[in-house]
Amino acid sequence: MTAASVPSIPDLPIIHRRRWGSWVLGAFALFVVASIVIASIRTRILDLSVVGEYIFSPMIVMGAFNALVLGTLALVIASIIGFVVALMRVSGNPILMAISATYVYLFRGTPMLIQLVFWFNAVPIMFPNIYLALPFMDAPLINAPTTAVVTPFLAALAGLSLAEGAYMGEIIRGGILAVDKGQRAAATALGMTQLKVLSQVIIPQAGRIIIPAAGNQYIMLLKSSSLASAIGYLELLRVATDIYSSNFRVVELLAVAAFWYLVMTAFATAIQTVLEKVFPQR
């Protein structure tokens, strides 16, 4: 070392520049948030005892559970629809591509609420009777007027799944396209058939890529399940609405409903976090 030739430097402390701007900004943001909280407490916008009374009431919990079931099932079905739609879109077959693109355009381009109400009303008119028979059975499995079979739950599930399927289709397509082309070439060169390439290489990698976006969609769906209140399905918002229309505790019951939506969102976020940990991005 050349330490001997260099004049010795006194061991002075090093002072880094303070980020005053970010402190000022932080203080201002905190002030704004505090003002809102204080104002809402002072004006007593809600009566906490009423919130406490309803928050675990059987009707509300049942509504929350129904919302969770509806949102979760819709996500599962939408993922299946989305997968098929995405494969059609990247297939290179012009007819399949056109069908897939049209589906996405229609179902992503119209409000979910319109779709829900539309299916609930249009399906029984289009198909007045539902008849489903299995071979080698004397009596048909289902033979009933459609209005009896298409319950609000089924109509809501179909509506949400179809609408969400369009979004999931685009998300999954994006995931497939994000997988490096070389991965497909390498798998093909090994002698994998196209089905194997898809199942062993493309889907595992695309699956990891779409987890954050799919988690987002799950949270959106859990909240969109409230749209099913429009066709009479007893989910969380519908239950809360029914209660406050008789006791006029609007803010309290909306707070109760919001609480349960937040619980569901926390649940979905937890699932997403676990999935991202179990399948880390490589």
Partner: protein, 262 residues
């Protein structure tokens, strides 16, 4: 197949052309590669070297001609003077015996080194996992990476990734190995370890077709050089002759440019 060439040739290219629409990659390329020979495909960028390799395992379709690997017509079935493209399953079966190594390695990112090497035997040949793992560990040992069996590609250097990729190709016991610019994405030090690996394969008698810009690899490892330029085969000579006494003017210019660049 009366028109099939000698079985002893590992690869036979017979008047092969490749066009994308009006753009021609190469035209009327013919050569035979005997079993055990190592051929370097040289030529300037865009001469169609990589495309030619990708035609050999039908990753690219051809526009004219025929390609045989050990007597099998690749990608097509000859029937009444027409060539019909084979099914996905049949082409996949042909590819099993043709290994390929890529410029950017293309290891499966979601699999460990070991799983990458096992992927061919397990998913293509339906070998048992235990059997495939034994073979894969042997091959990783051979390329000097047994200790990295559990590492994911993102945890490996470029040179290590390329050696795993070579092991992955070898796991299928290929009769022909196609290497597409195997050292081009690596800095010289890492390229050298890959060249060493390829040299050892050459010594074992592995038939190889190597598209490359790496003159060291071509001169020291290859038996023969096929020089492509301007969409065709410009020179076909032993590696020694090509580097000491190139016959064609274009090859001379190509070599002179390379030497002045260094």
């Amino acid at each position: 197949m009366s028109t099939a060439p000698e079985q002893s040739h590992a690869v036979s290219m017979v008047g092969v052309s490749k066009k994308w629409g009006a753009v021609s990659a190469f035209t009327d390329v013919s050569f035979d590669v005997p079993q055990g020979e190592v051929v370097a495909l040289l030529g300037p960028s865009g001469a169609g070297k990589s495309t030619l390799l990708r035609c050999v395992n039908h990753l690219e379709t051809i526009s004219a001609g025929r390609i045989y690997v050990h007597g099998d017509l690749i990608g097509y079935r000859l029937d009444k003077e027409a060539l019909y493209e084979l099914s996905d399953a049949d082409i996949s079966r042909q590819r099993q015996k043709i290994g390929m190594v890529f410029q950017h390695f293309n290891l499966f990112k979601h699999m460990t080194a070991l799983q990458n090497v096992m992927s061919g035997p397990v998913h293509v040949l339906r070998a048992s996992k235990a059997e495939a793992a034994t073979l894969a560990l042997d091959l990783l040992d051979k390329v000097g990476l047994k200790a990295k069996a559990g590492a994911y590609p993102s945890e490996l250097s470029g040179g290590q990734q390329q050696r795993v990729a070579i092991a992955r190709a070898l796991a299928m016991r290929p009769r022909v190995l196609l290497l597409d610019e195997p050292t081009s994405a690596l800095d010289p030090e890492l390229a050298q370890e890959v060249v060493e690996t390829i040299r050892r394969l050459a010594e074992e008698g592995q038939t190889m077709l190597i598209a490359t810009h790496d003159m060291g690899l071509a001169r020291d490892v290859a038996d023969r050089v096929i020089f492509m330029e301007g969409g065709g085969l410009a020179e076909d000579a032993s590696s020694k002759d090509f580097f000491t006494a190139p016959k064609s003017e274009r090859a001379r210019q190509f070599l002179a440019r390379l030497l002045s660049a260094h």
